[in-house]
Amino acid sequence: MKLRIAFIILILIIAFAISLIAGAKLINPFAADEVSREILFSIRAPRSIVAILMGMALGASGAVLQGILKNPLADPYILGISSGASLAAALGIMAGAAFLGTFTIPFMAFIGALATGIMVGLMGWQRGGLWPERILLAGVGLSFLFSAMLMLIMSISSDEGLRKAMLWIFGDLSMSEWPKVPYGLVFVAAGVFVSMIRAKALNALILGDEFAHSLGFSPRRERLILFISVGLLTAASVSLGGMIGFIGLLVPHIMRFFIGSDNRLLVPCSALGGGALLCIADVISKSVLPPMELPAGIVTAIIGSPYFLYLLRRKNVLSI
């Protein structure tokens, strides 16, 4: 088991190294001219770190959410958080908001994501606790509502700029820069850390509320803490680089094949795996058709899905 975890960490490190060296053009970090150095330090390094942070947030929050909702099909975007973020970003772009310079739109997305998370939490709240089915349905309902409102804005607006600006919502890491890193790091580290220290409670929750009670956990309290950390993680990831699918849903399942269902291992490994996958996917998206860039979300799904299906054929599906 220790070997497997070490292996996952190694993959992440290798992914990061590759992402610095590879791209549209290979750069040898030890013999780089001025332009290459500039590319390495101010473009590739922050971009790769943002990709890793985003992948970590999605992987960890996917694992936690599948646990608290006891649903193998749960992923962070099902809570409607991403559609709320997109809607807020679109409204910000329409209003021409620029109070934080380049941070404005990501900030709007973050606020939209948090507001949606709070709404879902309030709707999922009944008799002094969060109910998994209610959370799920509230998320799906809000998701439809916000997506429809976004589509409405997009179809009645004749502003070409809005359409282009909305492109980043569909997963774009190209504008990652150093100032984004500490902000992402704070939220992602906090979210992953909280999820990890509450992983034992998550294990108990999956076995049922009564069982969790008998082990000394308050299911309502634990669900709330975990839900808040998922909300923060998802909000941070959407504002870092838009919506990138697949990772939140399938990376936790891939990790279950590897290290089993114990959330104390699953949550950190899903984070590591998600980070490595998105980092590699971003390198591929930059290198396929240079100097054009493909959206990273497409690449994660194209390389991730066949592997997931292969695992599904080879092994028995593990329960949550």
Binding site: G101, E160, A165, M175, E177, M292, E293
Partner: protein
């Protein structure tokens, strides 16, 4: 060859004539359409320039120039016009562009016995022919001829300059340029766009000219590597703030270092009467020391 002032006088006179014509409301000739719908902003601009705006009964929601175009009835978007809205206006001619309006839509109109005219112009060099085609269709041939000839003359100035520079023993080194349509995510003017063509006319080398799509999402790394001498940024909503963030990351590029970053209008995004103004605007920026 007429002297230049005669040409401009001719244009002024024809503008007066058209105004008079509109005031007198002379009935148009028998076969020229009286209820025209334009489904593309550039076609609408050309119709206005030909002085037939009185006969336009509907435009697309993207037709926002000149100001009077906004007052016309809207029949839906560019790629999704409403068949019902078009038919209910009882047009006797609908003008479409090959470059964006749906072909199926044009076929539906024809099956309903509505006259359609499809403008195939895609490049600046096709523009005069496109204007003549529209002029012939709506019965404003003479005005169209003047407008087309004017554009041809302005184009010739640039082509002439190219011939001179090519005939020199050592042609001047072409400056590298990038035209940014949108900074975040980074969308640039690539292969086959009017903008890219304008850059070539000005003797510049568009570093994104080899892309496979017209408006690709471009790699920032590539800009640093290509080190363009000039960067143009097209007009857009909230553009300055976002562009500042991009330029900060491109600070080592010669264009940014030497203050050769210019914000320009959106004239080049449309193939119409204002396109050449866009070319002239870029040329004026190039003359700056």
């Amino acid at each position: 060859m007429k002297p230049f002032y005669a040409e401009s006088v001719a244009i002024k006179i024809s503008v007066l004539l058209v105004t008079a014509y509109c005031l007198l409301l002379t009935p148009a000739s028998a076969d020229s359409p009286k209820r025209i719908i334009s489904l593309a902003p550039n076609i609408t601009e050309i119709l206005f320039a030909l002085g037939v705006d009185e006969r336009i009964v509907g435009v697309s929601s993207f037709c926002d120039y000149p100001e009077a175009a906004k007052q016309k009835a809207k029949v839906g978007g560019f790629s999704n016009p409403s068949l019902e809205a078009v038919v209910s206006l009882k047009p006797d001619m609908v003008l479409l562009t090959y470059d964006g309006n749906p072909q199926a839509f044009e076929e539906r109109l024809r099956s309903m016995k509505i006259r359609t005219v499809v403008i195939r112009a895609r490049k600046i060099s096709d523009l005069p022919a496109g204007i003549r085609q529209i002029g012939a269709a709506v019965g404003a041939g003479e005005k169209a001829e003047l407008l087309a000839a004017d554009i041809e003359k302005r184009l010739d100035v640039f082509k002439e300059r190219d011939r001179i520079s090519l005939s020199q023993a050592k042609p001047a080194k072409r400056q590298k340029v990038l035209f940014i349509i949108w900074p975040d995510p980074l969308i640039v003017a690539g292969h086959g766009t009017t903008t890219s063509e304008a850059l070539a006319l000005l003797g510049l080398e568009n570093i994104a000219a080899k892309t496979s799509t017209a408006y690709p999402k471009y790699s920032i790394e590539e800009i640093l590597r290509q080190a363009p001498d000039i960067i143009f940024i097209g007009k857009g909503n909230g553009m300055d703030e976002v562009a500042d963030g991009l330029l900060r990351r491109l600070k080592t590029v010669p264009a940014v270092r030497n203050g050769k970053v210019f914000y320009v209008s959106d004239y080049l995004y449309r193939l119409g009467p204002r396109t050449m103004n866009g070319v002239d605007e870029l040329a004026a920026h190039l003359k700056k020391p």
